[in-house]
Symmetry: C2
Subunit: 198 residues, 2 copies
Amino acid sequence: MVEIQPKRPRDAQATRQALLDAAAALFAERGFERATVRDIAARAGVNQALLFRYFGSKKALFGEVLERNGREQLKATAPESLLEAALRGMLLADDGRLGDRSLEAFLRSTGGSDEVAATGRLLGDEYARVLAGLSDRQDSDLRADLVLSWLLGIGLMRVVVGKEPLASADPDEICELVLGAARTLLEGLAVPVPPPAP
Amino acid sequence: MVEIQPKRPRDAQATRQALLDAAAALFAERGFERATVRDIAARAGVNQALLFRYFGSKKALFGEVLERNGREQLKATAPESLLEAALRGMLLADDGRLGDRSLEAFLRSTGGSDEVAATGRLLGDEYARVLAGLSDRQDSDLRADLVLSWLLGIGLMRVVVGKEPLASADPDEICELVLGAARTLLEGLAVPVPPPAP
DNA sequence: TCCAAGTGTAAGCACGTGCTTACATAGAGC
DNA sequence: GCTCTATGTAAGCACGTGCTTACACTTGGA
């Protein structure tokens, strides 16, 4: 992801980025509450006081992590591919370090604090708006919310709860089942052909 | 729910029940981590030391709450009505004190600890088994997991995240959309006619 | 009546947490 | 070389947490 610089000894920008990366990983692994500022700073290899100097608070750091990663995917993928991209991203989140970790971070943190839920709501609104644009139904907003709910629910059961057989199921198989049903629900959503070569 | 006894002054059974009720409410409102043993004991009107005498630990108390409430619904409803019952229970959980609060408690606690997720997984297995029994497809277990995931996802978005328009949507409308799609997914699931007069 | 078990309580321990403060050190401009 | 600011660090504060301990009161049976 990030090019390794020849280690400029004192680089605020690099330190900030290291904290951001470490936070993204730890929030995804343990959720907001159980990821401590001490662990985040340790993984980034810096003193924890810097975390507060650069981000102000743990909550602000969480918000920045979630927003950055979320909007990245949102901006990078076309509307008609968003559902599949988001679903595949989450399905791949557990094996290897691929996939969208920010969704996992969100799922592991929702119960924690109201601010966390609020941050997620903002991002959810953007996702839902794009999804709703794919439908021409009267209640397209509600249908989009339901599709988005399904996506999160699958992530919840698969990566945080680890429910079998869902947790070990083949992503392709899941995609086929889910995208088919979601298309029916949205009606008029064009499910894209297998994704273009990267 | 519970009949108010003429207040037998020292009644271990009643105290235990009071703790169980208070815990169910607080876990649903705040999740496992943010519901403190002090608050639970205070709402039950007893000393917090009793909580540990009767249940051993906070985690054990959580497990007992979740198990009791979950299995209650599971035992009380016929398989072909389970999906709708669980969905309606969750949709009603926010307004008033109706609905199944244990699902809400679970949703607000998943990220917290691994044991919590494990407790939920056990219950989820039972729900999924019943749901899978309604389908005669080859991969009915996976399909049941997906339906269950949807249910939890909807709860997550509606009651803990508060995503609009889902959060304020009419339960009947949601049921119609979801049950239709779920029936298609399970194929062969008989969606019951509007529920019998209560 | 008296004792033992059952039920309840006040106080505190040990620990982890987010966050702050006081201080060290490196690097750029003069 | 000197200073001044940006960057980094060690130590600790204040607080909330789950859980324990030592003790008081009630009750029922002998």
